[in-house]
């Protein structure tokens, strides 16, 4: 039997039982749609996070106290501004080193208040990280040296405290201490679940006075070149270790952060897809079931086809194609549904989704495979039917 003819016969058989075919497909449709949508959401989230990490600036090296190992206890920072000078000497350029000491504080302006993430920083922050101002100016070196009480507001904080009014030059209080607003940041949005528009930057010296501490939480260095970034990290960790023999320090690069995040999200996406894949499997069992019913119903037809010269293989191929057609049509509909669902989620919710061609190819391939795997047993049964018995069936 020619292949084209076999397709025609299979399509005819599906059309003859339209409702049943549609219901059988539904299992595959739902499975494929779930796989496509979840993979799209997983991929989209991964891409978004990677962009945000890359958006921090390239050649970034972050130095934190403690060991970055699973199971190690979080450690209290022993880093101080003296260490920053030491690190600056190793890097050879003070403008490439940024620090942060952070604390959540209540910020007030007149009758309005906001709870913000207060970041004590050096004037180098906008060059080390990529941070653009919307209005006004950033902190200066003299602001830092004199612990001047000036602040740069994140877009969210500025909007909450001042609404549409220009905040530049106005007074705010942070933890009850008066500061003057000198600039506002461009809106950045969420990153890794943190609202980055909720930051207020003040000189690190002022922040230490406000918080009553000498410590700083972390150092960030923009390395002069990519090749030297690992040795630079090692040098800095060694120097800090010498200054604080009782403490451990770790340096991580942007690539390492990206790698770890990518791994976690990859596993997460895989698990989600696997769960969705189970529903595809259940859909396959449904196809198998219906194909067995179909073989039984059409026993007489099989008997007749054999009597007029169909080989066991011809009959088997006919039923196998029918199963594959069920699952691939279901797969295509499921893909369309999954794509629509992903696009809707992407547009209507903060969760991003990205559709990749490989996930579609995979979904289509898997749905065809499900048809073959779950169609084989019914097809073999049909092919092996004894024509004498089949013709006698009423």
């Amino acid at each position: 039997m020619r292949v084209a003819e076999a397709w025609r016969v299979a399509l005819d058989a599906l059309r003859a039982n339209r409702l049943r075919s549609v219901l059988t497909m539904l299992g595959v449709v739902i499975g494929v749609a779930a796989v496509v949508a979840l993979v799209a959401i997983g991929t989209g989230t991964k891409q978004q996070i990677e962009q945000q990490v890359e958006g921090l600036g390239s050649n970034l090296l972050i130095v934190v106290p403690g060991r970055l190992e699973a199971g190690s206890a979080p450690s209290v920072s022993t880093l101080s501004l003296d260490d920053v000078d030491a690190v600056s000497r190793i890097v050879g350029d003070r403008s490439r080193v940024a620090v942060t000491v952070a604390s959540g504080e209540s910020v007030r302006a007149g009758s309005r208040s906001s709870f913000a993430s207060i970041q004590g920083v050096l004037e180098t922050t906008p060059t080390v990280f990529v941070r653009r101002l919307d209005r006004g100016s950033y902190l200066t070196r003299s602001d830092v040296n004199t612990a001047r009480r000036v602040a740069v507001l994140g877009a969210g904080v500025a909007a909450q405290l001042f609404g549409d009014r220009d905040p530049i030059g106005r007074q705010i209080t942070i933890g009850g201490v008066r500061f003057r607003v000198i600039g506002t940041f461009e809106a950045l949005g969420q990153s890794l679940g943190v609202d980055r528009d909720n930051e207020v930057h003040i000189p690190v010296t002022a922040a230490q006075r406000l918080l009553g501490t000498e410590r700083i939480d972390a150092l960030a260095i923009r390395a002069p070149d990519r090749e030297r970034i690992d040795t630079l990290g090692d040098d800095i960790v060694a120097a800090l270790g010498k200054r604080h023999p009782e403490s451990d320090f770790s340096a991580v690069t942007q690539e390492q952060i990206l790698g770890v995040l990518g791994d976690i999200l990859g596993v997460l996406t895989g698990v989600l897809a696997a769960i969705a894949g189970i529903s595809l499997l259940v859909g396959g069992v449904g196809v198998s079931n219906i194909m067995l019913v179909s073989v039984r119903e059409r026993t007489r037809e099989i008997g007749l086809r054999k009597a007029v010269g169909a080989r066991p293989r011809d009959i088997g191929v006919q039923f196998l194609l029918e199963a594959v057609l069920l699952t691939t049509i279901g797969g295509v509909i499921g893909m369309a549904l999954g794509i629509s669902a992903a696009l809707l989620v992407d547009r209507l919710s903060p969760v991003p989704a990205a559709i990749t061609w490989w996930s579609l190819a995979l979904a289509f391939g898997v749905s065809a495979l499900v048809g073959i795997v779950f169609g084989v047993v019914p097809a073999q049964r049909a092919g092996r039917l004894d024509p004498v018995v089949a013709l006698r069936t009423e």
Partner: protein
């Protein structure tokens, strides 16, 4: 007759195994269907005549004896080879027509050609010609449920003939038809026989059987009488 015989059965037996019990359906039958033969197999139900027909048509294999269809010993043939033998040598006509219900007359007739690997256009042309031949040129695109029993049986006969078989096996071809329609179906079979196709009728209807050139009477899995129709004795109750 110079042509080789279409089917030669020599001491053929067929035993079914039912729950470990051997049930003999045929117990040693020898029979030759010559080219252009017109033969009736008669017998009560359970006499083994259907089993014999299935064997003659290559739908089943004997458990004993030798059966040669179209010059080939079926014992040596694989299932695909048997399928091909059926396709090329045998045409089946059944009591209940066995047409595909959702398929037009033309495509029903063309079905055996599908398994011969013939292209759609030629299939349809040959099927159309064959429908003309059985007098259904005006019913090509009708489905079985739009046709009378007699018409459906003619479609089935056209389907049996479309591959140009040497033997036409008809199992109670008039069983589901009224007398007049049955007569015209038999007349069609006879006109085909006149053109050289061997016809084997399986029937329990004596009147139908007597139209054949010779009769074989079966009882309990054996041929109990084989004679030209003329010799079966006139006046025997039908």
């Amino acid at each position: 007759m110079s042509a080789p015989p279409a089917i030669v059965a020599t001491n053929v037996s067929r035993t079914y195994e039912l729950d470990g019990v051997s049930v003999p359906a045929l117990r040693g039958v020898s029979l030759t269907v010559a080219a252009g033969d017109y033969l009736a197999i008669v017998g009560a139900s359970g006499s083994g005549k259907s089993t014999l027909m299935h064997l003659l048509g290559g739908l089943d294999r004997p458990t004993g004896g030798t059966l040669v269809i179209g010059g080939r010993d079926v014992a040596t043939l694989s299932p695909p080879e048997m399928a091909r033998l059926r396709n090329e040598t045998i045409g089946f006509v059944f009591q209940s027509f066995h047409l595909l219900t959702r398929t037009t007359a033309r495509d029903n007739v063309a079905l055996p050609l599908v398994y011969r690997g013939i292209g759609r256009r030629e299939r349809r042309a040959r099927a159309g010609a064959m429908l003309e031949r059985v007098g259904l040129g005006h019913r090509m695109d009708h489905r079985p449920n739009q046709m009378s029993g007699g018409e459906q049986q003619r479609v089935a006969i056209a389907r049996a003939l479309v591959t140009g078989p040497s033997v036409l096996l008809a199992d109670e071809p008039t069983g589901n038809l009224d007398t007049t329609t049955g007569q015209s179906v038999l007349a069609l079979l006879e006109s085909l026989n006149a053109e050289g196709v061997a016809v084997v009728l399986v029937t329990h209807d004596r009147e139908v059987a007597e139209r054949a050139h010779r009769q074989i009477v079966m009882r309990d899995g054996l041929i109990v009488d084989a004679a030209p129709v003329a010799a079966t004795g006139p006046g025997e109750p039908a």
